[in-house]
């Protein structure tokens, strides 16, 4: 394995015997990003293994889907990943539209992309802010949250909610943009974009911060693919893949944006710092996307005509979208009735957690927190 860290040596000469210790980290822990537990086996400060134990936030969302019908499931998708609920909404809407062969009005596609990209920025701000806080730098977190509040305000104007949006519908979105949303959105982006440099000056290239991230938990591109890492975690390992560009959906093919990829700029390719920097750069790309969308959004309706009793034909479909935590898969089986026969959500945090056991070997205990933060884990998304 190409993992950074220390070789574990148990020193037993001269009476300095050390023994392996089993520690329990979590489920409630200030920096495990939700209710998430690790069973850590450590020799002093160095871990021989950290085994994730998940499931504390399992709310049987997939089972609920079988009981509430296609339209009724939309608010539940918010709870899959409440830090980035808009892409979850979109994933569910898209898999239903694929099953039933529905075309979404173009204005609705723009609304979806605008909402998702604002949500991506706010989610990445949490990721970046908590990364600093987990390592011990509190100030950047407050700066990140301050900007996130404005996005929450904008999204609240859009759909009335600040976290669990329930904004999208099968066939479009619930509400059109409010009257002066475009001006407010553009004004926010204009003000926010220069602040990214402030973050970089404040924390990204701070020496202490870099020391904690560089060469920690190096994951090669091949390992990342084998473990099915997605999104910024995959691109941090140098794999140039983004669902928005490579399996195009919605209006993304018409927009100009770059896909930031890690290139080992400070240390080894695929370390925590690369994953972190990909997120910083993605915020900038999202700003670009929003600006284009708000400038070229067409007029028209925002919701296709969909029957109240939505019954897609028999079949099963799998849809992939680029959520804030990367490629999110929605699998839906329809038996032709009003209720989905089976729904499965494949989330980025689930697969990212599965690699932690492998990656943690030989790292310091404090680095486990860095690794969890660098994967941007959201515990409810693991457990669903």
């Amino acid at each position: 394995m190409s993992l950074g860290g220390f070789d574990v040596q148990v020193l037993r000469e001269n009476g300095f015997a050390t023994e392996e210790m089993t520690l329990n980290m979590g489920p409630q822990h200030p920096s495990t990003h939700g209710v998430l537990r690790f069973v850590v086996r450590a020799d002093g400060e160095v871990m021989t293994e950290a085994v994730p134990d998940v499931g504390y936030l399992h709310r049987s969302i997939e089972k609920i889907a079988e009981k509430v019908g296609y339209h009724g499931f939309m608010p539940y998708t918010d709870r899959v990943d409440y830090v980035a609920a808009m892409p979850c909404n979109q994933g569910w809407a898209m898999v239903c539209e694929k099953l039933a062969g529905i075309e979404v009005p173009r204005r609705a596609e723009y609304c979806r992309v605008i909402a998702c990209e604002f949500n991506r920025i706010s989610s990445h701000l949490i990721a970046v802010g908590t990364m600093g806080m987990d390592i011990g730098a509190f100030t950047p977190f407050t700066h990140a949250l301050r900007e996130r509040e404005h996005i929450n305000d904008l999204l609240e104007e859009l759909c009335g909610a600040r976290l669990t949006f329930n904004y999208m519908r099968i066939g479009g979105v619930a509400w059109d943009l409010p009257p002066d949303f475009a001006e407010k959105g553009l004004a926010y982006i204009d003000r926010f974009e220069p602040l990214i440099d402030e973050y970089n000056a404040l924390i990204s290239f701070n020496k202490i911060y870099k020391e904690r991230l560089i060469n920690v938990a190096v994951i090669t591109g091949e390992e990342a693919i084998n473990y099915n890492l997605v999104g910024p975690n995959l691109r941090g390992s140098g794999v140039d893949f983004d669902v928005r560009r490579d399996i195009p959906y919605s209006i993304y093919p018409e927009l100009q944006f770059d896909v930031p990829v890690g290139h080992g700029e400070e240390g080894t390719l695929g370390d925590c710092f690369d994953r972190y920097m990909v997120r910083i750069r993605e915020i900038q790309e999202s700003c670009k996307i929003i600006r284009q969308c708000l400038q070229q959004i067409p007029e028209g309706s925002v919701l296709a005509k969909i029957p109240r009793k939505f019954k897609p034909p028999v079949g099963d479909a799998y849809v992939r979208i680029e959520s804030a935590r990367g490629d999110m898969g929605w699998y839906c089986v329809s038996d032709g009735s009003e209720y989905p026969y089976r729904v499965k959500v494949r989330t980025g945090s689930f697969t990212a957690t599965s690699i932690i056991e492998q990656v943690s070997r030989g790292l310091m205990i404090a680095d486990l927190i860095t690794v969890v933060a660098s994967f941007d884990l959201v515990a409810p998304e693991i457990d669903r």
Partner: protein, 164 residues
């Protein structure tokens, strides 16, 4: 390469182990594989230069009581060739046992644990087949269609009277 082309290649190589090319009214076409052959088929699809499926993006279990089958669905993706393929494997409901694809794709480790936990498929040769989302002492597999919700869990009632 589209699913039909992959199907004819697989049929040529594995013969009867590849059962059918399926497409429903809606959604994605899929290739049905014999449960016993899944590891060889998976390893071959991973290794061949013109399929190169280096990633198992999703694995799910679906219960079909009417045909007495639990179906395991594999969504494959190739990062080098950017194409997809869906494999389906049916195992009998009363003896849902099939080999693990963990040696081919590491991500199958957790995904198979989830399929075992929720639908009850036993993956032979899996290195660590434990429940993952539900508590260890949970009885039954809740995404089976005939699962009956227990009335209590460790003395805590799971039902409550209607508030209306």
């Amino acid at each position: 390469m589209d699913t039909a082309a992959i199907y004819s290649k697989l049929k040529e190589r594995f013969g009867d182990a590849v059962l059918a090319l399926e497409s429903e009214d809606a959604g994605d076409p899929a290739i049905r594989i014999q449960p016993r052959a899944i590891v060889e088929v998976a390893a071959w699809l991973h290794a061949e230069a013109d399929t190169a499926f280096d990633c198992l993006t999703n694995q799910s279990g679906v219960d079909y009581p009417d045909r007495n089958e639990v179906e395991v669905v594999y969504h494959l993706f190739s990062y080098s060739l950017r194409h997809t393929c869906v494999l389906k494997v049916g195992v009998p409901r009363d003896n849902p046992s099939m080999p693990t694809v963990d040696p081919v794709w590491k991500t199958a480790n957790w995904m198979e644990r989830e399929v075992f936990d929720l639908v009850g498929v036993v993956f032979e040769g899996h290195p660590d087949l434990r429940r993952i989302l539900l508590p260890e002492d949970w009885v039954g597999h809740p995404l089976r269609k005939d699962f009956v919700e227990p009335t209590e869990y460790h003395g805590i009632s799971t039902k409550r009277e209607s508030m209306l």
